[in-house]
Point group: C2
């Protein structure tokens, strides 16, 4: 049987340790091609580049541990997937994996996540896709405990196929090299960011802001990703790109628009 | 009774005719404050600015037809909403309206939409929110037929309150000034973009790409936004930011992770 073709991308950029680890894990499962941003794209959400040019070039980042073919791209994670599928790959990949992100994409973070936007872009194109994130923002994060879970999830996705119209949002607790306790299927916890803007003055006296904030959990459910992670489990949330709130349609039909 | 406070934003930038029209419509309903990007942000998805500074300043774009208070912001639509709520407004707005976008945000376009990301950001913060888009990409689009529908929808939202965890994605057919046939509650049509990259060479010989593509409808349902728009109706899709594919959780629980 032919090896599965695995497209690897991310939002932290092609040199990020999380991506380099994911490449090594995926090489144990199939043939890997990398198409990833040439610079960090965190917080890019599902941005695409429509008013600017895109550059892409073949690169070698790590001759021994890297993939046989790697491309950097000047665009966003969603751009990388579009460019890979349309221009750079010889055939449709069997799966697209994105990450491993340095930092959580659990709960409401999925909305702002470049890592997940790459997975969602592939999902829209009908390709099984998974975003991986480790709950450690450090560039020196320890990814050694992540491999076994990541490989299991990718192998099951290749074997079972993805539920229609979904991609997987996988978050992994920070274990500093130890194995997580197991893998749990979860729902996205309800939460928001309590923003704080840090007001400063530039050397020339112009006022500017830095966006900062605190994560605020609004959900005590034990079936959420945040809960699973807090107990040391890997969380897997099936994530959809049909954003329709189907349950709300009936309620809205009672609104009085047409008199 | 106090006038409702209406925050108006968009992704085409603070000078866009669609925004200027929306301000005029909303001034008939309540007190309007504008916080909008200082330059076009189309295709920004739900991007936020975390690795860069944000600037904001009070501006007067149109002394007569504008709002009493308008601010431009160097960030994305989601940044504008965060900054408005946290730093610029005296009190929580009763509703946030975004648009009117020059071009469709129906169907899968919602995923890439800066207009909708502003609405979703407000929804996450628990504020009723609506994104408006007109199916006309032209900067000179005729917004005169849009006012009656837009005002009706905002008034109903203020009266009825928004279904929990949802915002509204409103798309308006191009009617060149005429009234749409009515308003329909819909679901998001299944579709994708069939990408094409236009490969070119720069004057110095470097290869680059432009992202282009064609919208591909994969859905023949008569309850979709695309169908309503094709029949001349305004489409209203309740849109959620809990991306969990709840129906897929059971299926994923049959996957074999933990042996």
């Amino acid at each position: 049987m032919k090896n599965p073709l695995i497209l690897v991308t991310n939002d932290d950029g092609i040199t990020a340790p999380g991506l380099r680890s994911l490449i090594e894990f995926m090489k144990e499962i199939g043939d890997v091609v990398v198409v990833a941003p040439d610079s960090p794209q965190s917080g890019m959400g599902h941005a695409i580049t429509i008013d600017n040019t895109l550059y892409s070039k073949k690169v070698i980042i790590d001759k021994d541990k890297g993939a046989p073919a790697e491309y950097s791209c000047s665009g966003t994670p969603a751009d990388c997937v579009k460019l890979a599928l349309q221009e750079l790959l010889d055939r449709k990949p069997d799966i697209v994996v994105s990450g491993i992100n340095h930092g959580s994409n659990a709960s409401i973070n999925v909305i702002y996540s470049g890592t997940m936007s790459a997975a969602i872009e592939a999902g829209i194109e009908g390709i099984p896709a998974i975003g991986f994130s480790l709950l450690d923002y450090s560039w020196k994060a320890d990814f050694s405990g992540v491999g076994r879970s990541a490989k299991k999830i990718v192998q099951e996705a290749l074997t079972q196929g993805m539920p229609r119209g979904t991609v997987l949002n996988v978050n992994i607790p920070k274990t500093d090299g130890a194995e997580p306790k197991g893998i749990k299927i979860c729902r996205q916890a309800r939460a928001n960011w309590r923003e704080k803007f840090d007001r400063r003055k530039s050397p020339t006296g112009r006022e500017y802001f830095w966006l900062t904030g605190e994560f605020e959990l609004l959900d005590k459910g034990e079936d959420t990703d945040i809960h699973a992670l807090s107990e040391g489990f890997v969380s897997v949330v099936p994530t959809q790109f049909d954003l329709t709130a189907h349950h709300a349609i009936q309620q809205l039909n009672s609104w009085n628009f047409n008199e």
